[in-house]
Symmetry: C2
Subunit: 229 residues, 2 copies
């Protein structure tokens, strides 16, 4: 069996605390300049650069040069989801300070999982879509039903376009705080993007946490028939 090699090489990516910190920080799906990541991991810029170069070589992250900054992001959604899965085994972080606990509450409530929404909000929305019969669970796939086609089109999503993307169209992603599934894949990404475009959510600075706006709460209730908060 040579999958041993794969498993251990994947694991060694995260086994180093500095790399883990960097990846955890990148899990918000945004691009981050190298210095930012160094600060987040509590290491010098050189060390961060070393790790980032290594990860870029393997293909875990990609770089984009803008001016004198280099912006890094996680290359593949599937890698981000793997890290999320690992988090679900690490278990809910033991609360150390009130500040952390507060941050934790926010993360549980709504956060980005790379390119799509996660947390309680995402799980409840996904549940609602299943209940309404717009989505249908089939193993780890989430099929869009006929009524779903209409629903998402009404919502402003271009499904044919999303299907064309070279990635899974609609699938489950394990939510480590809720221990339930939420919608991921191109559809999850598209839905999230649309909701942000409608100003339903705002990103917090330097965090994966997402705040739901007043319009958001109203819109979610209207469209999905659920009450958040």
């Amino acid at each position: 069996m040579n999958m041993k090699r794969n498993v251990s090489s994947i694991a060694s990516l995260i086994s180093d605390p500095s790399r883990a910190a960097i990846l955890l920080h990148l899990l918000d799906g945004r691009c981050h300049p190298a210095g930012n990541l160094a600060a987040a991991a509590g290491i010098t810029p050189q060390t961060a650069s070393f790790h980032l170069a290594k990860m870029a070589e393997i293909g875990t992250v990609t770089v984009e040069k803008h001016g004198r900054h280099r912006y890094y992001r996680i290359a593949q959604a599937s890698d981000a989801e793997m890290i999320e899965q690992l988090l679900s085994f690490a278990g809910p972080a033991p609360v150390v300070s009130l500040r952390q606990s507060d941050q934790m509450k926010k993360l549980r409530h709504a956060r980005m999982c790379y390119d799509h929404l996660a947390g309680e909000a995402a799980v409840r929305i996904t549940e609602s879509l299943l209940r309404a019969g717009h989505l249908q669970k089939d193993g780890l796939q989430l099929h869009v039903t006929v009524s779903g086609e209409t629903f998402f089109a009404d919502f402003g999503l271009d499904l044919p376009q999303l299907r064309k993307k070279r990635r899974a169209f609609s699938r489950c992603c394990l939510d480590w705080t809720e221990r339930e599934h939420h919608l991921a894949g191109a559809l999850g990404q598209g839905l999230t993007e649309r909701m942000f475009a409608m100003d339903w959510f705002h990103r917090e600075e330097q965090s994966r946490a997402v705040r739901i706006t007043q319009e958001g709460k109203q819109g979610i209730t209207e469209r999905f028939g659920i009450q958040l908060d």
Copy 2:
């Protein structure tokens, strides 16, 4: 956030190829003597002993002394399932030799995932239980319905006894070859045990693979209404 620490310490368990090989070998749920594990990992007994001692200290594996042998096994089902999950990201192993490919086919078909059945057989059986309405999916939980209570009792399982165990009763476990869920938890373990007791399956030596007997094929068709092979 101090879950960083957790994540990386979990990952470092598997990041070493030797430990990964040992754990992969232990994933069959059986007890293995130290020498056996050393051979499986391709390292000397001393080195294996070193790693096993380390993992025992953390609580990942437990020891049992029998005569001059020391038998090791994975301590918690949840740890075994985490490794299974990691495997699903490592992806199907690239086929190197015909021998491996053959072994791989067997693993895909039916294997042990620590203490319960996995592979195509397990996924199909789980599907059948859901379709028949004996189980009901609720997030990652698999609830036993009223008809399910009867079904499992008929099958010879003592559900109240299984519920008493200090572990999850009935839950989903991600199958890395099928990329679907199969039944795990105390119920999954109990069901598997019962099927082995009825001689439906035989273990292969030195492998996680499981062979379905003639009685097994017949019984599975009768009880679950599915045809395997």
